[in-house]
Symmetry: C2
Subunit: 390 residues, 2 copies
């Protein structure tokens, strides 16, 4: 029996499994009066629209077709990295209405950064000709662990620990706010858009830092205190003396991240200051930068061999400022994984670059926001936002 709740009825129509009042009665088994009441609420809220069906009539008056109104509201999505931010507005069909990106410094702390995010969201709303009242959810990705809407001891986000990010955004825009570790959102976006048939995948972000988002059994794995996938601190080398920010030596992050490559190139006498500089050199084919990118990939691949043993994914997707830029990084990862993992673990494993390039983060958080808004369990919140009681 189909879920006959208000949210269940909305989903039926949104997914095209019911087009008319009669369809809804047939599929749910609800009485005519209950169906009329449910549809009345959804129509009044503007979540559904009625339109006369197109095409020639086969006799009699055609019943009005019900469709989901994808323009009824928008979601705001922001992907924050260590050194950049990308923001976008989406309608409920997942269409981008406005988008922008700019450099930022996450280390400036939550007051500075969130003030900027909120102003940019307001500007994008103007650009898209939508009002704050249209905002049905906001979602924000940050480069560190998140628990209950707050960053949880994030290593590269000074000043953000336990800051009430979700509370602040939901107050400002009067709608639910979701805060997620950036790599989790990236993994979710890739899974839902490109690989829905793959139950187990790992998204690896190689940027200033290194992290992984993991989908297992089709769902995000978050772990205790939101720390699952924190692969930057897997011990990659027992010989290395390089000291990591975590206090250990030989971590993947200190050997293979963007900031590690900046240091390595600097030591080799090449003038680079940021991960972006390194990525640009690799893209331009600089041999020293290419060598270090490939070597970083190998180190990361050896650590990913352990991830493969634990998670048994059939796909590893590589993204992030360095991962994107850099076929050498991906080639190195393949080499490291296939060398270190067992034959059985890798016989069905693919390692690919992200298809979303630098947009993967914002696509991911938008996916999170849209899934939240369209979840049948959240229809009451959606109605309240439209000023209507269920």
């Amino acid at each position: 029996m189909h879920d006959g709740s208000l949210g269940g009825v909305l989903r039926l129509i949104r997914e095209g499994r019911a087009l008319t009042r009669t369809d809804v009665m047939d599929v749910t088994g609800l009485s005519r009066s209950t169906v009329m009441q449910r549809l009345g609420v959804l129509l009044e809220a503007g979540l559904l629209v009625e339109q006369p069906e197109a095409g020639p009539s086969s006799g009699g008056r055609r019943p009005a077709a019900l469709t989901f109104n994808e323009r009824v509201g928008v979601v705001l999505a922001a992907d924050l990295g260590a050194e950049h931010g990308r923001l976008a507005i989406y309608d409920l069909a997942g269409v981008v209405l406005a988008e922008g990106n700019a450099p930022l410094r996450i280390a400036d702390g939550p007051d500075v950064v969130l003030e900027w995010v909120e102003q940019r969201f307001d500007e994008l709303l103007v650009e898209a000709e939508r009002a704050r009242e249209d905002v049905l959810a906001t979602a924000i990705g940050v480069p560190g662990p998140v628990e209950d809407g707050r960053p949880a001891k994030p290593p590269i986000m000074p000043g953000w620990d336990d800051y009430p990010v979700a509370e602040r955004l939901s107050e400002r825009f009067g709608a639910p706010a979701l805060v997620e570790r950036d790599v989790n959102a990236m993994a979710l976006g890739e899974h839902r858009h490109h690989w829905p048939e793959i139950a187990n995948l790992v998204f690896v972000k190689v940027a200033t830092g290194i992290g992984a988002g993991i989908i297992t059994g089709g769902e995000l794995m978050r772990g205790n205190h939101g720390r699952a996938g924190d692969i930057g601190h897997i011990r990659a080398s027992r010989e290395s003396d390089e000291l990591c920010t975590c206090g250990n030596r030989g971590c993947v992050a200190v050997l293979a991240s963007g900031s590690a490559m900046v240091r390595q190139l600097h030591d080799a006498g090449i003038d680079v200051a940021t991960t972006a500089d390194v990525a640009a050199l690799v893209r331009a084919g600089d041999p020293v930068a290419t060598h270090h990118a490939r070597e970083a990939g190998r180190v990361l691949g050896a650590a990913l061999a352990a991830v493969v043993s634990v998670v048994a994914p059939s796909l590893i997707i590589v993204g992030g400022e360095m991962g994107d830029a850099s076929e050498p990084v991906i080639a190195g990862i393949r080499e490291g994984v296939y060398q270190q993992a067992s034959t059985l673990a890798t016989r069905h494993l693919r390692v690919l670059g992200t298809r979303f390039a630098e947009r993967v983060g914002v696509v991911g958080v938008a996916t999170l926001a849209l899934e939240h808004v369209l979840d049948p369990a959240n229809v009451d919140a959606l109605l309240a936002r439209r000023g209507i009681a269920a």
Copy 2:
């Protein structure tokens, strides 16, 4: 609104959330006639029993109380290791009706081993004074990956690859058969019985081989082709020349498993043939055996540090023939994990021995079988087994 299906109604009563017909109507919102029909089917099938309520009446006739009949059927559970098997019969309250264990050799192949399992199940049924018709499910744990009820390229189970274990058992006992990697069942059993409030935990089995069962977000993580948690082939040492069965060198399994310890003690001039021999020596306080057990724990702990980075569990439970026996193994694991993992990853982490000792496997598969039988979605199968159509 509560699920008003037949399975939903059964669950309401089983969980004590409804005691009478009126309760069922109140909680589900179903009409009197529908409730009478649902309860009629469940009573006829013997899944429910009616009994006059105890205690003094406060006037008027007391309505009959409905209770779930936990004696309506049984489940059969078998935990097979490389060198032993443990079997048990449970009623639907999770009470053991009969149990036994015996040495076996998984390497004898499925025909020999399953013939033995089936005979033992029949003997246990006689002992428990139950008939084959009472069997509502069977569940069997095996020491290797499983996919769709069949072992999937299991390294230490020659002859078992792709053998239709579930089909054979379900045919023999006329009830659904579940086949699961043993460590997955162990993790599930520990989680459901002792740690239901912990969302993320890892069960590590240290026996002839090494493997882990992982609970993430409260659910079992199975991975591609059932290979998640196959941590025995994480590279523990880049210096070791020991060749693993997987074809690589320096794997955890070749350095820290029971069979590795047998070889190490043998090389040290101590006469041992099996993991059980080593475990007995450690239990007896033999210093050389204790030294090797502790060192094996350290190696395993270093590999588990990577597992901790990936999964972010708050609990690691150690079991298996060596893990059980051996406080030195657990102490070594603690040392390795806390040394190699990052401070943030381990600040809420505990490492404990299993409370079920050598029964953890059979408890785990029984848990699996009971959850399957009692799942509201499977009530139709349960009724069919009792000769009644829903």
